[in-house]
Subunit: 138 residues, 2 copies
């Protein structure tokens, strides 16, 4: 689409995550850290750093996609709490973290950002999760 012209996924996001699928506005990425079910939405728009810098149309799409991913994570993982965050202090390209927390996870009850080194998924875990997520988001 024209509105995607010039969009390039930040290399740090690309390196830390696996691509799951595309929603109408956003790439859906899976953080490569088996300790938390952790998805990231990256709106395919060039040079956007903040949610309120999106057009009204794109904001509405993003909010719908945040809800969609939240509902999936709750249904699939029954977390004690979801954490949603748009930070961008290190990678300024707009991206929204949505992850499922549990009382026995590595960072609980603190935030996951900057907590400790990721523990990558195995190839089998990854294959299974990506398949489930892709199906859920069609």
């Amino acid at each position: 689409m024209d509105s995607e012209i010039g969009f390039i996924l930040d290399t740090r996001l690309a390196n830390d995550c696996h691509k799951v699928t595309d929603l109408e506005l956003s790439h859906v990425l899976l953080m490569n850290d088996e300790r938390y079910p952790w998805l990231i939405l990256v709106p395919r728009r060039k040079d956007i750093r903040e949610i309120h810098h999106l057009s009204t149309h794109d904001r509405n799409l993003l909010f719908c996609e945040i809800i969609k991913v939240s509902e999936y994570l709750e249904r699939k993982f029954q977390p004690i709490k979801l954490n949603i965050g748009a930070l961008g202090n290190i990678v300024s390209q707009l991206h929204i973290h949505i992850l499922a927390r549990n009382a026995n996870d590595a960072a609980w009850p603190g935030p996951v950002w900057g907590h400790s080194t990721a523990v990558p998924y195995s190839a089998i875990q990854l294959e299974r999760l990506k398949k489930d997520m892709t199906k859920a988001f069609i």
Copy 2:
């Protein structure tokens, strides 16, 4: 309003923050930490822990209020980055943090949550900020 019946602000949020004003859905609280311009939206709805548990009507109100507060913080403080977060690992009552970050602030580039002890505002700072915010949100 009927939909507010049974809503009680969590005492930890009440203790850590100052009340600024009310928007259509949410209380607007100011975190009592002079190191970051930090507002918190608390939807006045009983027993809600997650954004996607709100009704569609309330979700839309919340998203508009997040945008309104984001625009205010950007206009007033010209931050290098906004941070928006709905965590709730410690206080489960739904509340959304929206704060202005700068490269010389205490926690930069990490998240502010759980970073270090708050530095309270002086009475004069507080009075001035609350007045400005109340005016901005009318």
